[in-house]
Amino acid sequence: MLLKRLTEATGPSGFEDEIRQVIYEEIRDHVDRVYTDSMGNLIAEKDGTGLGPKVMLCAHMDEVSLMISYIEEDGLLRFRHIGGIDDRVLLAKPVLIGEGRIPGVIGSLPAHLTSSSDREKPVPLDRLRIDIGASTREEALALVCPGDWAVFATQYEPFGQGLAKSKSFDDRVGCAVLVEACKQEYQMPVVFAFTVQEEIGLRGAAPVAYRVKPDLALVLEGTLASDIPGTVVHAQATALGQGPALSLVDSSSIHSRKLRHHLIEVAQAQNIPYQVRNTTAGGNDAGRIHTVHEGVMTCTMSVPCRYIHAPSQVISLDDYNNTVRLTVEFLRSVERGGLER
């Protein structure tokens, strides 16, 4: 199952080797050319059979994760974040360390040993440790070493009414949309860009966009959904089950209005549900892509994702399927000359 393979593969920012190989194997039979650039971005090209604007679809391969920074005398591991993680979600979570997938648990004190004032605030990062079952530094060093990364141990699993959880829907769900779109044939050139290091500063996307020089770009993301009790509708960003979310503005881009309106027209014509992402928080690769060369018309479409940047991220599989549909129908529409640029 594609979502399972993609979300369970490891790929901390800067260490995307495993996920890149997984994606490569998924797409290599469907593209004219596929290669990796010096940063580690995976770029797949389909030449198409006719003329047309060159479209780039983009999703980032990396996931928020942890890095081991120091090994204590007692065998416990200190660690830092790779990408933005709220410390409140770390406590008592299982992790997997490095290519060897050494299991570990982020430790916690039992409640009766904490003071009531301590329990009122999150445990700060400098008091958290990963326990890999070692009792000395030497024992720990036989398994891990400072600089090794760790990912959350969550497995992909469908649950509830058409929902699924995983450790990395941000942005493996975007990668999955690209993989599915890649299996279709198009008349115009389409480039599928799987980028690195998005979570630590959108670092992979600009070099890809400079190389590809697209006429227009669509970024596929997993994005914030705060449709949980206590959040007013206009602060929810997105809600699960209401279809792919089209970005308006975020901290890195004012997304192309023309492209968004075109996506809306396609969605309406094909009877695909959609929503708009109503927060200005967050940022993604679109911020780097739209300012390369003399500017690129760029928009973002996302699968809404609850508990993003946390160990168990949750999406609606209907939203995912509708995002694949809208992406392919969008390409079909551009192919037919439906987008006036």
Partner: protein
């Protein structure tokens, strides 16, 4: 000049949707240009060819946008929810309550809040009223993702000084436009880039410069004046001439550029000040480090009450900026 300033200030050009300002400028520059085009992001690129044999290409940058507010949600009963974009993000949301807004399509409205006390006003508590009574009625005029700007008249407070919203972009664009008109025949090729999206981090500047491949960029910018009753460590005064940028958050201007601009100001008898401020970013810094690098300097027009609904400039500063810009273009030899 005052009339032009007022016209530009009253135009509705929130960041990312500068079309109304661009249309206004495009009509005014066309008689003075050899080539006028609009790029993908909406930058207006105006080129006037030089006559010199060994001519260079000089880029004059002036941003067209003002901070804005985006509609992020439309309620069933016709009220709009808003999110500040650009420099209004740093304003206390309470400041926006009671302000009037305008959309580029002419739709107007007023901002209210559900908070009872000014201290409790958050962005989430803000709403706008455009007179609609249902979501459907709103959608005929305004969509989610549309931008509006504050809607306030501009006026001269005396012979030299003008107050208005978006006076910063108005002063900068007026200076660039006037410089282009006054150029006459010049040796170097000149492209004036009226840029978009300055308020969200100068996102228009690099794409604007990319195709021009200029040898030098002169950015027209604004600087907050420190000559009011507000406590401020800035020595910048209005009416004392353009401030030659030396240092900001994103650039240290190269000494040869600084000396060139100072020498030209002194030779022309133009009063000038020096702009050293680490609070502000600039398009000059972005261009300096752009592509293979671009020599860049900046002249900042002093503005009081910067990024507020009522900014104040002195027209003499704009005229002095024009004089120095025209002279720098004619005698450029770096």
């Amino acid at each position: 000049m005052k009339d032009l300033l007022i016209k530009l200030a009253e135009a509705c050009g929130p960041t990312g949707v500068e079309d109304n300002v661009r249309d206004l400028l495009q009509a005014l520059v066309t008689p003075h240009a050899d080539d006028v085009r609009v790029d993908v992001l909406g930058n207006l690129l105006v080129t006037k060819k030089g006559k010199g044999a060994a001519r260079k290409h000089l880029l004059l940058v002036a941003h067209m946008d003002e901070p804005g507010l985006m509609v992020n949600h439309i309620e069933a009963n016709g009220f709009l929810r808003l999110a500040p974009v650009g420099t209004y993000e740093t304003l206390s949301p309470a400041y926006l309550v009671g302000q009037r807004i305008e959309f580029p399509n002419g739709t107007k409205g007023v901002i209210g809040t559900s908070a009872k006390d000014p201290g409790d006003v958050t962005v989430v508590s803000l709403f706008a009223d455009i007179g609609a009574t249902s979501r459907e009625e709103v959608l005929a005029r305004v969509q989610e993702g549309d931008f509006c700007a504050l809607h306030l008249g501009a006026f001269a407070v005396n012979e030299h000084r003008v107050v208005g919203k978006a006076i910063e972009r108005s002063a900068i664009c007026a200076a660039a436009l006037e410089a282009l008109k006054q150029l006459g025949e010049q040796e170097h090729d000149v492209t004036v880039a009226f840029t978009v999206q300055q308020a969200v981090g100068g996102r228009g500047a690099k794409p604007a410069a990319f195709g021009v491949e200029a040898d030098f960029a002169l950015v027209l910018d604004a600087v907050t004046a420190g000559d009011t009753l507000a406590a401020s460590r800035s020595e910048i005064r209005i009416g004392a001439g353009p401030a030659i940028k030396l240092l900001d958050k994103v650039t240290a201007v190269r000494p040869q550029v600084k000396h060139f601009l100072i020498d030209e100001a002194e030779a022309a008898g133009v009063a000038y000040q020096l702009d050293v401020g680490l609070e502000r970013s600039s398009e000059a810094g972005l261009l300096f480090a752009h592509a293979s690098g671009l020599l860049a300097g900046a002249l900042s027009v002093p503005v009081r009450y910067s990024a507020s609904a009522s900014e104040l400039v002195d027209v003499r500063d704009i005229e002095a900026t024009v004089a120095l810009t025209v002279r720098a273009i004619h005698s450029f030899a770096l």
